[in-house]
């Protein structure tokens, strides 16, 4: 089972990210569940969302405490939330940041990648919603679902026009992602 945790701020699309990824897995015939940290919803407040993907049925509904992957949609959260808490030592960390990955390794992690996602989406989507570009970045470095499944999931959710724009930002994610030099890509 793959356990993925998303950290964002209300309005950035963390919950939608988890749902898009789960939908992509379900399209592939896998089993998946996605859910937010439950509570009042406020724009700008820290939000956590969770996604579990498995080949067989999943019976867990508890929050993910030891994720395989952590995706951070807003690097200012590093000052507010312990986003890498419980992340496995060989776990993957992807951060929306203009900084280099070494900025976020904290001496423990090596599978770290960054992408200057906000700059790209402001340019293409004209709004600071970084969920699809970070999912694109994830697929560049980890074999979670196929790109086709992710694109089907995005199209199903947003319709054709938004789909084309999001496809564009995902292509840019592939080019612009910065991978930590110590992370040997297989």
């Amino acid at each position: 089972m793959q356990e993925i945790r998303f950290h964002g701020r209300g309005g950035q699309g963390a919950v939608t990210s988890a749902e898009l990824l789960a939908q992509a897995a379900i399209i592939e015939g896998k089993y998946a569940r996605a859910f937010p940290s439950f509570g009042p919803e406020r724009r700008g407040a820290p939000v956590t969302a969770f996604c579990r993907i498995n080949d067989g049925p999943i019976f867990l509904r508890s929050v993910i405490e030891k994720p395989d992957i952590v995706i951070v949609l807003d690097s200012s959260l590093f000052r507010a939330v312990n986003v890498t808490e419980g992340l496995k030592d060989d776990g993957i960390l992807i951060v929306n940041s203009a900084n280099a990955p070494s900025h976020f390794t904290s001496g423990r992690l090596h599978k770290v990648a960054t992408i200057d996602a906000t700059r790209i989406v402001l340019d293409v989507l004209k709004q600071p919603i970084t969920n699809t570009i970070l999912l694109g970045s994830l697929l560049r470095v980890a074999d979670i679902v196929s790109m086709d499944s992710l694109l089907s999931s995005i199209r199903h959710r947003f319709g054709d026009k938004a789909f084309r724009l999001n496809m564009q930002v995902i292509e840019m994610a592939y080019k612009e992602i910065v991978i930590h030099p110590e992370w040997k890509q297989e």
């Binding site: 789960a22 939908q23 379900i26 569940r33 996605a34 439950f38 867990l60 509904r61 508890s62």
Partner: protein, 387 residues
């Protein structure tokens, strides 16, 4: 039959309500409400569901409106949570007495105070004796299925009672998971158009909600209880026909690894999945542990329950609500009563857990099991209270 599609469970519930082609949806549209109503209002606005959508000013009004529309012969739906049910409760008791087959989803959340918006069963337990048929579901597919099944049961002329579907708030209502939807024609074949037995109509006047003097009130209550008890075989029948349509089968009491079990967990709602995981772990250690999940809460399925407990010596009963100053949680109280006349009745250990959104994990169940067999837990206790 369709394939699995990921969706929020609240949206799946709304899809089911749409497939039932309801005539009226009345609901208080903001907190404590779920996305079910948001989605239904969109279906109506987009012309996908030909229904009157009434965003009323309170839950009391929501159910009052459904009483009127259902009495006039319209298939009606509402849903709420926690404080909303509390505000609605005056009307909740009236619906079964009027024999109106309204279906309501209750996304179970705690009653204040302290103010909490999170999941437990204190809301439904506050109307335990309201006379509705009350069902609990464990996952999104069960929510979807039971909306359709609920109308089938409720509108049966041998039943004519409202049905309340209890789904855990947040844990289910906000969960995105794979759901298999149904084709409209399959639902239509299962659930024919609503044929009311009595309708409020000026051409053929009838009285609904009459006044009962002391000389009649007891008889009216006896008749109401008989009606609820008599619904049992029709509930089973509705599940059986659903199995033919969907391939999914449901029972009043669901069992898992219970046949040779010495210890049984008893749960209602989404905790069944978590308890099932704990049973798998304990079975892996060679422990004779099983699980009973109460799906039908009213009418209480006594016979299914006796059959399901078999020769178990110990029942670990989970409650999700406190009965302050009472004999334990409401579920355990009922189970102890049900066992009283048995000669060799099992020991009942009652944990009240998962109040106001407190997580109950697989490890929690393992802890409950160990403290029960070691004799550290007995009778009734709140689980996981910090010192």
């Amino acid at each position: 039959m369709g394939k699995y599609l990921g969706m929020e469970v609240s949206f799946a519930a709304a899809e089911a309500v749409k497939l039932c082609n309801v005539d009226v949806v009345a609901a208080y549209p903001i907190t404590p409400q779920t996305h079910i109503v948001e989605r239904l209002s969109q279906f109506v606005a987009d012309g996908e569901l030909d229904a009157e959508f009434v965003p009323v000013e309170s839950e009391h009004s929501a159910l009052s409106l459904c009483v009127g529309s259902q009495a006039a012969g319209a298939r009606s739906f509402t849903c709420t949570s926690s404080q909303g049910l509390a505000l609605m409760s005056e009307i909740v008791y009236i619906v079964p007495a009027l024999r109106l087959p309204i279906v309501m989803i209750l996304a179970n959340r705690s009653l204040s105070g302290p103010l909490s918006i999170w999941n437990d069963h204190s809301d439904v337990m506050s109307v335990r004796d309201c006379g509705w048929i009350q069902l609990f579901v464990e996952n999104g597919q069960e929510v979807f299925d039971h909306v359709i099944i609920a109308y089938k049961i409720a509108e049966n002329h041998n039943v004519l009672l409202p049905v309340m579907i209890n789904m855990d708030g947040f844990i289910l209502s906000h969960m995105f998971e794979p759901i298999k939807l149904m084709e409209q024609e399959d639902v239509d074949a299962y659930l024919p158009p609503y044929q009311p037995k009595f309708v409020l109509h000026p051409d053929k006047p009838v009285t609904m909600g009459a006044y009962a003097m002391p000389a009649l009130f007891t008889e009216a209550k006896k008749a109401q209880e008989e009606a609820l008890l008599a619904s049992y075989p029709h509930i089973l029948q509705a599940w059986k026909s659903w199995e033919k349509v969907s391939g999914r089968s449901y029972h009043p009491v669901e069992t898992f690894c219970s046949e040779d079990a010495e210890t049984l967990f008893i749960t209602m709602g989404s905790l069944g999945e978590t308890a099932g995981e704990a049973v798998r772990v304990l079975r892996g250690q060679g422990k004779k542990v099983g699980l009973l999940k109460l799906r039908l809460w009213r009418p209480f399925p006594f016979h299914d329950f006796y059959k399901a407990i078999g020769n178990a010596q110990r029942l670990i009963v989970l409650d999700r609500a406190v009965s302050y100053g009472g004999p334990g949680g409401p579920v355990a109280g009922e189970i102890r009563s049900a066992l009283y006349n048995m000669e060799n009745r099992p020991q009942v250990i009652n944990f009240v857990a998962g109040l106001g959104g407190r997580e109950v994990s697989v490890e929690s169940f393992l802890e409950m099991f160990i403290s029960s067999i070691e004799g550290k837990a007995s009778g009734y206790q709140l689980f996981g209270v910090r010192g």
